[in-house]
Symmetry: C2
Subunit: 439 residues, 2 copies
Amino acid sequence: MVYHAAMNRRTFLGALALSPLARAAELPPVNAARLRDHLERLSVFGRPAGGTFADGVSRIAYSDADIAGRRYAMDLMANAGLEPRLDPAGNISARRSGSDPSLAPVLFGSHIDSVPNGGNFDGDVGSMAAIEVVQTLNENHVATRRPLEVAIWSNEEGVAFNNGITGSRAAAGRLDPGELDAVWNGMVKRDAIHKIGGDPGRIAQAARAKGSFHCYLELHIEQGGTLEREGFPIGVVEGIVAIDRYDAEIRGFANHAGTTPMPERRDALLAASYLTVAVNEIVRAQPGRQVGTVGQIAVTPNAPNVVPGRVLQTIELRDLSADKIKALAAQLRDRAADIARKTGTEIELRQVAHHDPALATPAVQQTIEAVCAKLGLRTMRLPSGAGHDAQAMATLGPMGMIFVPSVGGISHSPKELTRWEDCANGATVLMHTVLALAG
Amino acid sequence: MVYHAAMNRRTFLGALALSPLARAAELPPVNAARLRDHLERLSVFGRPAGGTFADGVSRIAYSDADIAGRRYAMDLMANAGLEPRLDPAGNISARRSGSDPSLAPVLFGSHIDSVPNGGNFDGDVGSMAAIEVVQTLNENHVATRRPLEVAIWSNEEGVAFNNGITGSRAAAGRLDPGELDAVWNGMVKRDAIHKIGGDPGRIAQAARAKGSFHCYLELHIEQGGTLEREGFPIGVVEGIVAIDRYDAEIRGFANHAGTTPMPERRDALLAASYLTVAVNEIVRAQPGRQVGTVGQIAVTPNAPNVVPGRVLQTIELRDLSADKIKALAAQLRDRAADIARKTGTEIELRQVAHHDPALATPAVQQTIEAVCAKLGLRTMRLPSGAGHDAQAMATLGPMGMIFVPSVGGISHSPKELTRWEDCANGATVLMHTVLALAG
């Protein structure tokens, strides 16, 4: 902890003597150029061959690119005077001491894994900003009463193994029995966790106790177009929607595409197509912000001249109300039964993931708004349609999230973009919110 | 040519003195046990690991399994006294001399490549039976006036490179310009042809001249359920349907599945699903035997939590009337434009293959029927919904096809099954038809 050794004791006591909002007025903003530099350097890990920053990133959790990106993040933490450690789930975290070691820390961070062909802001902004906050506080010799803890959670996107967020869920003690035996891309989840430096045999010990942190904060890009459209630089998140994910398995019968008359076919892809249309129709049939997506499909045997025999596809439903998406799923089951009858197939819907909705703590929302008011940044409250690590953390203690605008609302795409100024604003808001909460 | 050296000259002349149908009465049937043995041994190449004959085969053209199967077939040809050669397209063929070398040969054969997860009869029966015919003729010291030529055509299924039958089409001089530069599974078609012993630089020389054979015959499984359902051991093919194959490219916009409101999505998989349903509806909307299939699909990025940005799928249309499938495709283009408008996507339909319908020569159909009458086998005339190498050969000279029943009409599936007795009947009919035509 280089910083503490070098710290001027007078400044330390001086910091304590000031109220957080008084300090906020004195502190300079975070170093925007350095934050941008770190985001650009991180973007190299998982970049398409021969591409540029604008070509986005494929940094799937547990991949070699993910490991390289994690290594880079840990190096940045060390440069910021932190000592990064790995928990048994492969989450990276590091503490900065507070003046009262008996107090629970203010925890903040995000993730750096991406979806395939994703962008360079989802997760990365919150992770790099968390490190930037510590570095800025150190450079300005700002001490806090509570300890601070930076976390970079593993496998937030849940693309690997198709069973959802892993790292922060392990930290919330909510892994499913047998989950580590899941196989994906020829890899067992247990081995994947070991590959990134976790200890799958002791994964239960990754769980944090309720009350073990004072508050969890996460800066993230909105991933929707509301803030940009409405002209707000900062969003204060009201809550994170519930997400239910299903695997639909459609079993028909593979047969010759030239010699099997249309009425005798049991075409699994035709049934899957009716089901995809049904998901869209059912979700759009009622008012509200609920969404439903068929994003992934695998067809067997997948040849132009063979009637498809089997299809596996994913169905995802999201809404702030868990009851509403449960009701949508019930409608979908009825429609699936109709489709199976009509196409001579069998359709099985298996729920593979459920995330409860998570409401942000009202007092934390108000603190973020007070900080923004001091900084002269207009805010807007809005729900998060995307899942976040904050969702798992909300089961353990108070939680708040800060959103920054996504240009055009584009995310999970190489075209994902948050302006550098907005990234820096978000990091500065995060820093002052951390200070306000850490005392 | 071991057989000719050992041949008894008196038998040779005696054979010439008999009319083909007179000889038909004297000749024993083909060796059914040996034919079965060869089919069972061939099934090993491309069999799923740890599987049995009943688990079918994946012997995709140009794969290592295909090469091993081709090697086995060439060994069988050599054992039958033939000298197999490769043409520049990788087609295997071998001649058995006739008493009048000035006459064009009777050409017969099939293919041994399969679809992924295919069966052990499609192509294999006709190929192994062609060799069995020569072996039986040799064992019975039967000579013919015309030479005989056995052919095993390369890449009949057209799964590799998605651009249709290759070997027999090259023999018909109908390859497309630039076709050898096609890339599939990281392999260039030119290299694939070289891999199986062809000579892509000289592929134009694989073309045979019109009139270079007296007649082309092919024994094949029906791949539909008509013969079995109606109780006929032999089908006499009237013609092979026309096949048009399209690639549909659907370009939407990849975006986050949680934060992109339903009305703002440009979901390529939703559009693809509407298109798959449209293919089915349009094809079934009018009476007739026409079929339409979406058998293959590729989604980008194909992740559960990303709205799909791009889909590539195949569309195949078949009917005896080329005009009818052209009209179906025109309807489909109209529907695709509607779907694109409705879903905010772009849909491009590119025709990637066209096979003309091919009518079997009436005189050849009558010869097959006369042979079957002598052998006491009931016949039924029927069209072929599947494409065959016979289709390309029909552009060069007279053509006929013999069908044997497929149990349950199942094909392009591990459950594909033709009873051993039906395989042997088909081979015996092929042998006598060859004799009738070869003089």
